[in-house]
Symmetry: C2
Subunit: 493 residues, 2 copies
């Protein structure tokens, strides 16, 4: 039976074929979801790119594949993809596959909605506005606006655009011509999207002044002041500071109160990239890390990171109620007709840069419902507690060296010094040798498929591991296991 | 039983709870998918925003919802959302829920991958590169590069950024300061994202010169030449033309060969926004509409539009092999480490502006596999044939007036003149009266839930309907039904 009969648009295809196919796919993904979380399963099944290309039947044929061939395609895709759901996938700022979130995605996929007008997406329009209002309230604002964004990078780009528009509204129509050189500030450990988006928006990467960080990764406020003065003395016009709440590598929280003071004094837009660390706002015990965030003009906060919503769920929030609409609107008369029969203030699409836009709210809303606000807090608290347990454990353990003694977030950065190198510390080529350890250990863990933790250099630090937690089902036994596994992988180096 | 036990991160929750929940959700979405396509089901179930807000239990509680409450949330969401899958949802440039595509989304959701490095997304990295290469080949290029984009608007933004970088590579680092005023050109019927993105990128909306269109919606090439000269005489520096292949409202194809000639002569970047019309490239009979697209520097092409892949599946293609990397790269050392054990040219994330990025390729790849290339062609051919059938049918029908006599794409724009107005044509207030007809009929169709077709004004045309086809399961009987339904909805006006 050709697979073309499965499709809704093969009019001749019997409906039960489709149902049988969809049912089989549902079974296989459910089995996969169950398997993937098991600690005795593989995190990944490493195959070199050249070989994987040969294993997978990627090319298209002129004629339809059969249903069995499609099922094979799906099986191969599941087999050779990385198990993000595995407890020992600790590689990135996202992990786990939350089951309620997953169910939420299945629902929105089935609806295939695009969120721009109330008439085509009534439920999700109301849901977005409610969730964004709730998040703003948690940030500490009594009014404002917000949007769901295709990732934190684009959300940070929205911040730059709004900050510029706030100071120079004519940029929207006239562009940057005739304006002085605009300068913005962020720390040298801020996410790379800040410079990417400054490049896109015509600001230029060189006009993002990189403020020094201290040894824990936090923005050096004294240096920020100096850099603002330097920009002015060079004829630049400062317009925004982008602080970070939870840096990508070290998980550092910039001192938001101090930065807010400076922004206030210098009349600069104050943006906080809390894509990663925003989740800590849910915790009574941890939200002090973001103290001062209520003074920000805008915030990036990705529930798909610390709150473990499925990819992708990113938000951009601002305390200014109308600026998104004013800065972004194009009033397309084919989509945002004003003579509709309902209140068209519910047609929220024009405040976005995207036109068609997937539903990213529902999975998160459903998770929040399922756990309750207290459940999200408990989730965050567990992550931090577990990070402290892990940090305490490796602090005294032979061979482990913390990059910062007291990590602020659930990122734990450390070197593993194999036995053969332990006597060489202080010698001139020690750093160079240590720099090679993490890549070698990473290769071993990838080839064996037992775990995934990333590594990177930073400033003058040689390569170190960054373990990062968003999965609150991890236990102390898991942490103990991870330590032992690192030791095993480092054996003989 | 509290729903928190369902979640993977409620470590104490019994696994079978999760499985039972996921199984129930699978059942309900499968039933919904079956129902939604039935012609005797409702397209939508209209509820005013204020009332819907009361019906839906949107607010969060502190404590977890029960599994039954979650199931109710899901049922309500399905119930009050619009049935995009319904054959009579003809409102936008997307429609239908392709079942293979849907299955593909269920698979990628279950994997929850982010596509930026080979190590975390091996299958999807290879798949993206293969699909994009295939699409470039269909455009007519032997080399180049491409990326999946979160929608056509952002893809058009990529084009502007690359065009500018191509002419002035220093913009990436230095920004627009010190550069002359850059000017770009697009038609007055181009998608609004062109001006939105020009605003974002510091070009300014006023520096997008809007070229006149002819009565069929195609760019007036004579006027383009004049506008280029005008820009130069005003001290502006032209750098790109964004042509449209399939405009949003009328479905017009700009004369790409002529525009290519001008771009060649004037050394301008030639972009084609084929987000909508790109699908016609799959058809031997229809690809002539895009004749000259192989001479473009870049193309936006959204498979989620004419090819009916699920939302969201947008691509940006360029014939320049290295420019995406050169223009966008930030070389973040925490993610794109160069000392990895595999060939890091497979880490494709740095050529994107997004960092974390959902998998949009798989659903489309699986659909293409399932239909075969010939099946995609057949799909496109059916859409055009059905559009011609509908156009022919209403051409002679009392009360129907075509906005353009021979629509180029599967958009059919028409007025419905109710019997009471038919004798008034030519009178001074006829247009004003006609302008009110479509909104009233739209309200009726929404309240009854029998169909969804959008309407809009355009230039000096009063409101007219635009029916648009991407659903190749529609039959001639459906077309006949739609005509009768329009007549029924217009009764008594």
């Amino acid at each position: 039976m050709p697979a073309s009969e499965i499709s809704s648009f093969a009019a001749s295809g019997p409906a039960d074929t489709s149902v049988r196919f969809l049912t089989r796919v549902q079974q296989i993904v459910l089995e996969h979801a169950e398997q993937a979380e098991r600690r005795d399963s593989k995190v990944s099944r490493w195959v070199d790119p050249e070989r994987l290309q040969k294993i997978l039947d990627l090319q298209f044929n002129d004629q339809p594949a059969s249903m069995e061939q499609l099922m094979d395609c799906i099986s191969d895709t599941l087999r050779y993809s990385v198990n993000i759901a595995h407890p020992y996938f600790l590689n990135q700022l996202y992990s786990t596959v939350d089951r309620v979130g997953l169910a939420g995605q299945w629902v929105t996929d089935t609806l295939n909605a695009s969120v721009y007008t109330y008439e085509v997406a009534p439920v999700f329009t109301l849901m977005e506005e409610m969730v964004l209002a709730k998040m703003r309230q948690i940030v500490g604002w009594s009014s404002g606006d917000g949007i769901f964004s295709p990732g934190g990078s684009i959300a940070n780009g929205y911040a730059i655009n709004l900050a510029r528009f706030h100071k120079f509204p004519q940029v929207k129509s006239k562009g940057l011509y005739g304006l002085p050189r605009l300068v913005m500030f962020t720390s040298e450990e801020a996410h790379y999207s800040i410079v990417k988006m400054a490049g896109l928006e015509g600001i230029g990467i060189d006009n993002v002044y990189q403020v020094r960080t201290d040894s824990t990764g936090r923005m050096d406020v004294g240096h920020l002041k100096q850099e603002i003065q330097r920009a002015k003395s060079e004829g630049g016009v400062p317009f925004m500071v982008s602080a970070t709440a939870g840096t990508t590598v070290l998980g550092a929280f910039d001192p938001l109160e101090d930065i807010a003071d400076i922004c206030n004094e210098e009349k600069l837009w104050f943006h906080v990239d809390a894509a990663w660390g925003g989740g800590a706002l849910m915790s009574t015990r941890r939200r002090h890390l973001l103290s001062g965030i209520d003074r920000a003009d805008s915030v990036t906060w990705n529930p798909h990171k610390m709150l473990a919503a499925p990819q992708q769920c990113s938000t951009f929030l601002t305390k200014h109620p109308k600026i998104l609409q004013e800065c972004h609107s194009a009033s397309a008369s084919y989509l945002f007709q004003k003579d509709k029969f309902y209140d068209t203030s519910y047609d929220i699409g024009d405040k976005h840069l995207q036109c068609g836009r997937r539903v990213d709210v529902f999975k998160f809303w459903l998770m929040w419902k399922s756990k309750g606000t207290a459940g999200l807090e408990e989730h965050v608290d567990r992550l931090f507690d577990m990070a402290e347990y892990f940090t305490d454990k490796i602090r005294q353990r032979p061979g482990f060296r913390l990059v910062i003694e007291k990590p602020q977030c659930t990122n734990i950065s450390f070197w593993y010094v194999p036995p053969s190198l332990r006597d060489l510390e202080g010698q001139p080529d020690f750093k160079e040798k240590l720099n090679k350890v993490a890549p070698l250990m990473k290769e071993r863990m990838m080839r064996e498929g037992t775990m995934m933790i990333t590594y990177q250099p930073l400033k003058d630090h040689p390569n170190f591991f960054r373990l990062v937690l968003q999965n609150s089902s991890l236990t102390r036994e898991d942490m103990d296991h991870i330590v032992q596994e690192i030791e095993r992988l480092g054996r003989g180096l």
